[in-house]
């Protein structure tokens, strides 16, 4: 492997950006593909699938054998609000492979004994995101019901291109939220990306069921990355 290629690959991995390394097994030549870059020919489809699934494997193309190594950042879920839904969602999401962090500056909610084994940050989202930036492999679900906490976080999530942005609240609450986010500078396309009312429509009737609906929506959004129409259809 070319050392320069390894440095580039590690740079992408450190920055939590996805990359696919294609190695031609006949001569050992490698090629690094960053997410969003187009690859022509038979390899293109295989590379696109590797980005989508995160699965690595051998493939034949142009009479050669290639190894496709998918390096996807670990997806994570940032939960705004140490509320009842979060108590159910945090362990479920962790089991599904989405590590959770909960942010809630209201210290009465963000009590550690309510959230055993979950990283809990009792600061404002502004401070937390400055330290640990949001990115395309982070899902953000805002469930505090408090615009002072949720609004900034939602705008930050849209600006960072988070793969999922969901917000709790009725249609009426959400309409008012869209107006506020617009005044914060959010574009129509950005606002369209917010999943609200939050969660897949499974008729969830209590916090634990809402948590299931949110987690399913997060997974649907993650697996449909790079396919905006599919995201909309799946999360509608």
């Amino acid at each position: 492997m070319d050392p320069h290629l390894l440095e580039q690959l590690n740079g992408e991995r450190r920055a939590r950006r996805a990359a696919v390394l294609v190695t031609d097994l006949s001569d050992g030549a490698g090629r690094l593909i960053r997410e969003g870059e187009m690859v022509s020919g038979a390899l293109g489809e295989v590379v696109a699938r590797a980005f989508r699934t995160g699965n690595s494997g051998l493939t034949e193309a142009e009479d050669r054998s290639f190894f496709i190594n998918a390096h996807l950042p670990q997806p994570r879920l940032m939960l705004l609000g140490a509320v009842h839904i979060s108590q159910a969602l945090a362990p479920m999401a962790r089991v599904a492979g989405y590590p959770v962090e909960i942010v809630d500056p209201r210290t009465a909610f963000a009590a550690e004994d309510r959230f055993p084994d979950v990283p809990l940050d009792p600061r404002w989202p502004e401070e937390v995101f400055a330290e640990r930036p949001l990115d395309a492999y982070t899902a953000v679900a805002a469930v505090t019901h408090d615009p002072k906490i949720d609004d900034f976080a939602l705008k930050a999530a849209l600006d960072a291109g988070c793969f999922y942005v969901g917000a709790l609240g009725s249609r009426k609450t959400h309409a008012a939220r869209l107006e506020r986010l617009k005044s914060l500078g959010a574009t129509a396309d950005q606002l369209d990306r917010i999943a609200a009312p939050i969660g897949l429509d499974i008729g969830a009737a209590n916090p634990a069921e809402i948590a299931v609906a949110v987690l399913a929506q997060v997974i649907a959004a993650f697996r449909a990355r790079g396919n905006a129409a599919k995201v909309k259809e799946k999360t509608a």
């Binding site: 492997m1 450190r14 097994l25």
Partner: protein, 112 residues
């Protein structure tokens, strides 16, 4: 415990390989490229090895690392990549096997 969301600088094999190289050490990178059955480590897993036989990462549950490390020495010397295959039984060319009953193919290449 949750999955780590950021790379572990002290333990990530590819980060270690890059540092070894910067320190002027010869390095080989071994990668699981195919698995059948109950292979212990998924496709894409890495083991990195230096010329003294120091290593980080894994390509199995520890059953075939020894063989990969000794092959890596030759890959570092010659610069020619190799494809190794390990199966259940001890009859394989490498005289080691996977106790889990799986089979794996491991590609070993030199860095630089």
């Amino acid at each position: 415990m949750q999955e780590a969301t950021h790379l572990d600088e002290a333990r990530d094999p590819l980060l270690i390989a890059e540092r070894w190289r910067q320190d002027g050490k010869p390095v080989a990178i071994a990668t699981v490229v195919e698995t059948w059955g109950s292979a212990p480590r998924p496709t894409g897993s890495h083991l990195v090895i230096d010329a003294e036989g120091n290593f980080h990462g894994s390509v199995s549950g520890g059953c075939v690392e020894g063989a990969v490390i000794s092959e890596a020495g030759e890959v570092i010397e010659t610069g020619h990549p190799r494809m190794l295959e390990f199966g259940v039984a001890d009859e394989t060319a490498w005289r080691v096997g996977l106790s889990c009953g799986g089979r794996i193919r491991v590609y070993v290449e030199r860095l630089g």
